[in-house]
């Protein structure tokens, strides 16, 4: 019997997990990823350990990426998008390959393209050594760099064409694992994101920590000494119509604060919040530790003003005094929320599956949150709603389990 073929749309942690599970069960998988790298947002996160592991799950993404890249049943299609999907006894899918991409078979990860074209920002480097290839072409900069791209690679691994190319694939089932868009903090204008250099998003702090190993201020590269985390930026916000908790930001801020404190006990960290959400089953104990190390203020600051030396003044309500006070921080981290992927609408039309009121993919069954109104299409990970790394992996496992059941793959 011919092995069944499954297409997975999205190569973040959910897509990778679903791909790996299905490959383990003997199926062939096409894993389609729009960007030049597998790993999605999850691979960008750094380890949050203190003297002990805090179960953030970042290292499990690294492991999954390694397993997926090394699996010959998984056909990884990078820099690739879905152009069209047609249902006919399974699915015929037209995929669109970017006009410029790096051929993984030829690339040696030498980094010459990255170094030579650094100024042009047309070559980007992956977050993980397990990204294969380690470099990708920045889609937004292709047009003005076509000539430079053509000549730069000594191995001829960079493919540059006039336009995108198309290919037809088939699938017996589809897993939608298109993930999320991080909230754009510019929409919360009073925080001065993009105006004040030391107001950054959590994702940016991750990149800085990965690079420097400490919370370096973007303005001067100096280690921040007094940091504020503002929770619920974009989440639980009625004015924005975002009536959901992003579920990952409290664990993110608490673990990050603890790991920063572990490396530098003199750090002064304040977390501004509405309600602290749990991190895991050891939460009560962990929260007590956090309360000893971190100042918690139950109030979401109204606005931020620039202060001397690129510091930031913040207006906040002091519950003990019952008044508003002003306090200065040298780095403000916005815990930005999980938003539905902006392409969900297009995909939902292409596949004829519904979105929920918030714009995430709607599950058709009450309890199984991977099922859709098409019995051969499954949702996995944050495409269905906010989830942390472990929950995305588990949800993707459930989607894979659903695929196997649908395709009649038993023991």
């Amino acid at each position: 019997m011919k092995a069944k073929n499954v297409m997975i749309i999205g190569g973040g942690i959910a897509g990778m997990t679903a791909a790996w599970e299905l490959a383990e069960a003997g199926l062939n998988v096409d894993l389609v990823e729009k960007s030049g790298f597998l790993g999605g947002h999850a691979i960008q996160y750094t380890c949050k350990a203190t003297a002990e592991c805090l179960q953030c799950g970042a290292c499990s993404v690294e492991k999954m990426l390694k397993d997926v890249v090394g699996n010959d049943k998984i056909n990884v299609l990078l820099s690739t998008e879905i152009e069209n999907i047609e249902k006919n006894n399974g699915y015929s899918i037209k995929i669109k390959k970017s006009a410029a991409f790096i051929d993984g078979k030829k690339c040696t990860n030498c980094g010459i393209c990255f170094d030579k074209l650094k100024e042009n920002e047309v070559i980007i480097q992956g977050y993980s050594k397990n990204n294969a290839p380690l470099y990708a072409v920045n889609r937004e900069k292709i047009d003005e760099n076509k000539i430079a791209l053509k000549d730069v690679c000594p191995e001829g691994a960079i493919s540059v064409s006039d336009k995108a190319s198309y290919e037809d694939l088939t699938a017996d089932a589809i897993v939608v694992a298109t993930g999320f868009d991080p909230f754009n903090p510019e929409r919360k204008g009073t925080y001065g994101y993009a105006k004040f250099s030391n107001v950054i998003s959590g994702l940016e702090l991750e990149r800085i920590k990965r690079q420097s190993g400490f919370p370096a201020r973007p303005s001067d590269g100096q280690a921040a000494q007094k940091i504020a985390f503002i929770q619920c930026v974009g989440s639980r916000d009625e004015n924005l119509g975002n009536l959901w908790c992003s579920q990952v930001c409290c664990p993110y801020a608490l673990r990050t604060a603890e790991s920063l404190k572990h490396k530098n006990p003199d750090l002064d960290i304040t977390v501004f919040y509405m309600d602290i959400q749990n991190t895991g089953k050891s939460f009560p104990e962990f929260y007590e530790t956090c309360k000893n190390d971190i100042r918690f203020i139950r109030s979401i600051p109204v606005d931020i003003f620039p202060a001397e030396n690129d510091n930031l003044n913040m207006r906040l309500f002091d519950e003990a005094q019952g008044t508003t006070t002003m306090e200065t921080f040298d780095l403000v981290v916005l815990s930005i929320g999980i938003m539905p992927n902006s392409e969900n609408e297009k995909l939902s039309t292409q596949m004829d599956i519904a979105l929920d009121a918030d714009g995430f993919f709607k599950n058709s069954e009450g309890l199984n949150k991977t099922s859709t109104s098409n019995d051969d299409i499954f949702i996995a990970g944050t495409a269905q709603g906010p989830k942390n790394i472990a929950a995305s992996m588990a949800h993707a496992g459930q989607a894979a389990s659903g695929v196997l059941k649908y395709l009649g793959v038993t023991k």
Binding site: A51, E52, A58, E62, N278, G385
Partner: protein, 552 residues
Amino acid sequence: MNTNTKLQTDMEKIDMATDIAVIGGGYIGLKAASRISESGYNVILAPQHNDTDLNFSILDVPLTEMDRIKALETEVANNTNVEILPMSTLVEAKGVPGDFTLKFVSADTVLEKKAGAVVVATDTAVNPLNHIYGLNPAPNVVSLSEFENLLASEETKKEIQNNEKTVAFLVGFAHEGSPLLMKRVLNSVSELVGMDGCSAYVYVNNIKVADDGLERLYKQCRDNGTIYFKLQKAPTIIQENENLSVTFHDPVIRNDIELNPDIIVYEESLIADKTNLSLAETLRIDPGPMGFLQKENVHRLPVNSNREGIFVVGSARDVQGLSKSWIDVDNMVLRVKQLIGDGTKSISTKAVVDREKCTICLTCYRCCPHGAISWDDKAIISSLACQGCGICASECPMEAIQLIDFTDAEMTERIKEAAAVEAPNAPKIVAFCCQNSAYEAGMAAKAFNYELPAGLQLIKVPCAGKVDIHYILDALVEGADGVLVLACHHGNCKSESGNTYAQWRINDAYRKLAQIGIEKDCLEFATLASNMANDFARIVIDMEKRIGQKKD
């Protein structure tokens, strides 16, 4: 590499039992039985004595789903591939993955069953927390479960409605709680404020809305008239027979606010099944926080226990409603398929016991974190259960155990090679790197061109627990100026305790070095994660600086 240091790799063909045992006869156990049987395996379903506290978990389920969940009972009862044992207790579990022998005691009879894998699917229990508020249960002071029951019965519900009751809910002051509990509270609140004349006050600390639809439900209740008081500490409550008073200090208006509800609903915690700990002991799996099973180890998928072939799902491992438990069940089915397949498997041996050397002291049995070792007249390592960490090989006092991929002879040679590499004007550093963390981080540091010591040599080990003390001393004897043992962070070791063993051995090595007058600067133990190239570079550069200075 010298080929005769390599052991012969054996492929072992193993026949496995394809019956799967499910322990726990609540809805999660039933769902597990149903899904396993759908995947082509027979199921032995062993209900435990107290699988009765189920009503609460149904409450995270939409009413439309109730019939389908209840239908599981008949579906499983009529499923000829599921053998349902009488109410029983698991008293003994022997054997290895693919071949477990389980003994259940039911009343006076002992039932012995063979199973290829075991699934623990126990339920949670409800624990009322009135004592923390100093409240005595009374008709007008009830637990959340009791209030749910009042709303569930038409008669008592009508009574609440006709008397236009005002109800105060207390949440999150006696314990942090969970989204599942919050959902139960909000479901009750939502129903209450939907009844004409009734009103709800919710005194709450952290509102746990980290689950699908909860923020929306929270706002809906508010829009329908629910009043929330978000407080950092519990309000002052006075209970005098019929009269109830709840008072708190409002920090904004700087005044005390007192209300007199007709009913107070106090919170509950969801606690682990009391049989979990004895199950953990019988099955030799690790208990976790607060009586739930297994440690939170991100190197394992959540349903895997520390022992291969023993899986933990749903509320056996955490406070989880049915929707999340279903996710566990589906993931468990994947793991069962991966392990048992069609019942036969060819598997390569990871570790061998030299039966001439083994004195059956059982050190290996005690130190194996995966329960992979049993014995006849000598120790036996199950190829299916073994994860290849090598802790047993390093701990064996008779040196009777060898890992196929990391034999002592091979390691000795590798150490000699590493210590012999000369880097001009740079100290020689040999770093033993766990393949699950430090080795990956080291390779990443190379891939991303971090500045690394010129005299650095990495030696990959399966787990830091495989770094023998004589590896460390050999490296120094062979000419290394510094030795690093780099392990996973505590709580992050794939084999649970490999990093702890490594640290013990380093401490032992320090003592030995001190005896011969060598300073401890030349040896260091550190922990890091696979994705932290930066940490790796910092650790090795720091050591180079330290011993480089000494050398000058």
